[in-house]
């Protein structure tokens, strides 16, 4: 027992003597969580909180422009900023200057054009029904067109969906005007209100259901993504500290010296696993605490911890073991400390990029999504996503556990083979 304790204590002393390694393991994830969460927060808000900042310039001389504006405001989809005094030609410049992503211009003839169109349709209908229609009352004006401005960085599908929303409100206005006009031409104008109300209420309803396995619905936001993502990244970044420690021990003969002693080399590896798995668990505790208690204090979303705590602990443990096993692998195969540090760090950045740490995997092209399956960081993150966002069960975690289990086995096996080749074991 004293032997195990001494071996673990030695690993601990080595760990605390490596100040740069410690900073990389504990300060780096905190900085990354703060910086990236703040940067991504506004983007997530646009997607999740449905308040798209929109600049509206309403030059309509009638009342339908205001009606459209009211509909946009009451939809709660947009954060409307009106600037009616602005001429249309200055709108583009203003949009970019104000940092808004989208703007809508309502022209002066908006109401007039719509009325002309509804009059024309009503007249055609009356005539087709064989009812007398006063052709003199049909004003002929050009059909109005709205202008939708957007920042060039805005994705096409995003601007198309905003235009779709505006278009559906336009449809509502046009329908309502049409009913009013037809009823008026039929000289029963007072009764159009009932039909308008009926048509507004009797619409096909779309029920929105979030596909999670528990009743608690954690909304995907910058915190829910960044806290686990950068914690996993930092866990794997321990390759810089642990990997180079192993190279040093191999190169300076400490490992060979152990071979002359009445001890098992497995004890050395076990001690390293224990200390660095504890480090990884501490990293999780630290960054997740920041997500729960500190981020909300600076206006960022709070991290919602999953309710299935044993499953959460299992994901943390297997992710930590995967990170430590990878560091052991790099440490045993690298010839120099520089090689371990360089290759270790770069490989983690690449694994992170393809694994969905930097950008969520679902926004990647299909072939990159396939490639992400080969990143251990992806599976660790997937484990956290299953628990944090989908309220997942043990059953859903089985693929995560299987992949990470296989990954750990491969890393440990390759480490063993290399140490055997070097006659250390």
């Amino acid at each position: 027992m004293f032997k195990i304790f001494s071996s673990i204590r030695k690993e601990f002393f080595l760990l605390v003597s490596d100040k740069v390694g410690l900073a990389l393991m504990f300060v780096m994830p905190l900085l990354l969580v703060f910086i990236i969460t703040i940067i991504q927060d506004s983007a997530y808000k646009i997607v999740n909180e449905n308040e798209i900042p929109m600049l509206v310039v309403n030059h309509d001389e009638g009342n339908q422009g205001n009606k459209l504006l009211d509909l946009l405001i009451t939809s709660r989809l947009f954060k409307i900023d009106t600037l009616n005094a602005l001429p249309e030609k200055a709108l583009k410049k203003e949009l970019l200057a104000r940092g808004k992503m989208i703007a809508l211009y309502i022209p002066p003839n908006f109401t007039n054009g719509l009325e002309s169109n509804t009059g024309e349709i009503s007249h055609m209908m009356m005539r087709d029904l064989g009812l007398e229609a006063d052709s003199a009352s049909v004003k002929t004006a050009k059909m109005p067109s709205l202008s939708f401005y957007h920042d060039p960085v805005l994705q096409e599908n995003y601007s198309a969906s905003v235009m779709g929303v505006v278009d559906s409100y336009l449809g509502m206005i046009e329908k309502s005007m049409m009913i009013d006009r037809i009823y008026k031409d039929m000289e029963i104008g007072a009764k159009s209100e009932n039909l308008n109300q009926k048509m507004a209420v009797n619409r096909v309803k779309i029920n929105q259901i979030v596909a999670t396995n528990s009743n608690s619905v954690a909304v995907p936001n910058s915190t829910q993504h960044n806290v686990p993502a950068w914690t996993i990244f930092a866990m794997f970044f321990m390759v810089v500290s642990l990997g180079s420690n192993i190279v040093k021990e191999r190169v300076n003969g400490s490992f060979l010296r152990l071979k002359t002693m009445p001890t098992s080399f497995m004890l050395v590896m076990f001690s390293k696993m224990v200390v660095y798995v504890l480090v990884a668990i501490l990293q999780v505790a630290l960054t997740f605490s920041i997500g729960v208690w500190i981020l909300p204090k600076i206006g960022l979303p709070e991290l919602t911890i999953p309710t299935n705590f044993p499953a959460f602990a299992a994901v943390v443990l297997i992710s930590s073991m995967a990170a430590v096993s990878y560091a052991l692998l790099i440490g045993s195969w690298a010839k120099t400390q520089e090689q371990a540090n360089g290759f270790g760090a770069i490989s983690i950045i690449i694994f992170g990029a393809i694994g969905g740490i930097l950008v969520p995997a679902f926004v990647m092209p299909e072939y990159m999504q396939f490639a992400s399956n080969f990143s251990p960081l992806h599976w660790c993150l997937e484990g956290f996503y299953i628990l944090f966002l989908k309220g997942g069960s043990w059953n859903e975690l089985r693929w995560v556990m299987l992949f990470l289990g296989v990954f750990i086995l491969i890393c440990q096996l390759c480490t063993y083979i290399k140490l055997r080749i070097e006659k250390i074991i």
Partner: protein, 249 residues
């Protein structure tokens, strides 16, 4: 005191996988208890290979080695517990203090916490490291690091001690302290197997030597016996006579 064999080396041969020639070829030696036995030879002669085989770091390709203490054969973990090894490299943790290193390696030799504590204090004192016992080794001079390296090999009071160039690159004071301490533990009964390039040091320190060249033992015996037999004035003279003056790189 028992003076029978401590290590019996029989027909030991070593050929590395990719090598064309044997690094050691049919080596037969007997090292007696309480000997200070020098394994000497030019660079690449096979000294480090032999000492690595004797310590159990690498296995021989052929041959057999037996170990005895007081005439009783020892093997496995018992052999490892009674044997100490001081490699040429600083094979310890320079980020740690001498005390932390000794604590760790001592525990690996199965010493109890109480015994270890007493032994560490004694060794640090004897090797002049008490004042720096809690300082990081990376800040030490070469001589101090050599003494830490030696202390680790001695932490468990080994009966057989293997030393691979224990005084290389150290100042006169450190070299003197190391040799004096080794002589002291040898007088107390420790068998010492030692490699070195310092001929004058080996001549003073060893009672028996084996001169190895190209993986073969070219001379073996007591110091005076070998000098007389080969009509050599010193060990260096004997060394040149038997291994030639050519460079060995």
């Amino acid at each position: 005191m028992y003076t029978g064999p401590s290590i019996q080396i029989e027909n030991v041969t070593k050929r590395y996988k990719s090598a064309q020639e044997d690094s050691l070829s049919h080596v037969n030696l007997q090292i007696n208890e309480a000997d200070v036995y020098g394994l000497l030879g030019p660079n690449g002669a096979g000294k480090t290979t032999l000492i690595s085989i004797l310590c159990g770091i690498i296995p021989p390709s052929e041959g057999n080695i037996s170990y005895y203490i007081g005439g009783v054969g020892i093997s496995g973990n018992e052999r490892k517990s009674r044997m100490g090894f001081v490699p040429q490299e600083y094979a310890f943790y320079q980020e740690l203090t001498p005390r932390q290193n000794l604590d760790y390696f001592g525990a690996m030799y199965n010493l109890s916490k109480a015994d270890l504590s007493v032994r560490i204090d004694a060794l640090l004192y004897e090797l002049g490291l008490t004042k720096v016992a809690d300082k990081e080794v990376s800040t030490f001079s070469g001589g101090m690091k050599r003494r830490v390296n030696l202390a680790i090999g001695l932490i468990h009071k080994p009966a057989i001690l293997f030393l691979d160039e224990p005084t290389v690159g150290v100042d006169v004071q450190s070299k003197n302290a190391i040799i004096k301490y080794l002589e002291e533990i040898n007088r107390a009964g420790t068998t010492i197997v030692y490699t070195s390039h310092h001929m004058s040091e080996a001549e003073e320190f060893c009672n028996r030597i084996a001169l190895i060249d190209h993986g073969k033992v070219v001379a073996e015996g007591g110091m005076n016996e070998l000098l007389t037999k080969n009509d050599a004035s010193s060990l260096q003279d004997l060394f040149i006579k038997l291994t030639g003056e050519e460079y060995r790189d």
